[in-house]
């Protein structure tokens, strides 16, 4: 088992509970403690799963935008004929005027105009950050699943011990 007490993002590691003999009250106490831990781990797992889903959606979007900006950079001095989305299933023609600036929608009703090169740098850094976050989230998820398993093993062992105790008492 890892000697580190938390993983990179401050998630506490689950200790493997060793015991030789356990009284019934002590066992019950430990079982409640384990259940609490498991609940907390599961909660963290759900929130991370949600984050991963959001990132999975945004990542291809950023890649597409970056590709388009690179293309625009190459065709900077030409007027392009394009088909753009007017509505969900409706597309219309337009002519893009040659320009060295693009407008990026940053969310929260904010749109900024950037020179093409700066837009490309911004998008590349956003893409890298998103990929990095995705990687750490997936690592966290792995770690959490291991901790949940450890806790469940603890619960099973303590529970079996209580069964043994009750059997002996009869």
């Amino acid at each position: 088992m890892d000697s580190s007490n938390t993983n990179g993002r401050g998630i506490p590691a689950a200790e493997f509970y060793e015991f030789k003999e356990l009284s019934l009250e002590e066992a019950e106490k430990q079982l409640t403690r384990f259940q609490e831990f498991i609940a907390k781990y599961r909660f963290m797992e759900t929130s991370i799963v949600r984050r991963v889903a959001g990132l999975d959606e945004k990542l291809p979007e950023i890649e597409k935008t970056l590709q388009t900006v690179t293309f625009l950079e190459a065709e900077q001095d030409e007027n392009l004929d394009v088909l753009y989305e007017l509505d969900d299933t409706l597309y219309a023609n337009a002519q893009v005027t040659a320009s060295n600036t693009v407008c990026l929608w940053l969310g929260a009703n904010v749109m900024l105009e950037y020179p093409v090169a700066e837009a490309k740098t911004l998008l590349t850094s956003k893409l890298e950050a998103a990929k990095e976050t995705l990687k750490t989230c997936k690592e966290d998820l792995e770690f959490l699943r291991a901790q949940i398993t450890t806790m469940e093993v603890n619960t099973a062992r303590v529970y079996n011990h209580t069964v043994e105790l009750k059997r002996r008492q009869k």
Partner: protein, 154 residues
């Protein structure tokens, strides 16, 4: 429409647990139909929007007007509206796109809206029928419950 299965079983022959199971099943079916109905209404709103888009935007007088052209969901470029032979491109599903004039596109979207309105109407009818079934089952459950209390009290 074929008679729903529940009515070919005599409701009075079922036990109270079976009746409550039936109510649960009917309620989950109602939820599903309600969600589908909501989704269809959403689609209906979108298509109605498309109709007004086509009617207001695709006009000769808008030709050459300055617009911000969306190239992706977060990338916009300055440009001019260009009307090529009064044509727009309509996504008719399964990866097929058709070039239509503004009038043809409006007719197409009208047809879609009509179809959606009919489907929503059908769904609402089905929901009403299921609600009636739920009420009938609940009534029978009440009657059985009262009967059992009477026999237990004796």
């Amino acid at each position: 429409m074929s008679t729903p299965e529940t009515q070919s079983i005599d409701l009075t022959k079922l036990s109270i647990e079976q009746l409550s199971e039936l109510v649960k099943q009917l309620n989950s079916e109602i939820d599903y139909l309600a969600t589908s109905s909501a989704q269809l209404s959403q689609a209906l709103t979108k298509f109605t929007e498309c109709i007004s888009c086509v009617k207001n935007v695709v006009k000769d007088e808008n030709n050459g007007k300055e617009i911000l052209v969306p190239l992706t969901a977060s990338l916009y470029v300055p440009g001019r509206f260009k009307l090529k032979d009064n044509k727009v491109l309509v996504d008719i599903g399964t990866g097929y796109f058709v070039e239509k004039t503004a009038e043809e596109a409006a007719v197409y979207y009208e047809g879609k809206c009509e179809y959606l309105r009919k489907s929503i109407g059908g769904l609402e009818g089905a929901i009403d029928a299921k609600n009636a079934q739920v009420r009938a089952v609940q009534q029978i459950t009440q009657e059985k419950f009262m009967k059992e209390r009477k026999t237990a009290a004796k």
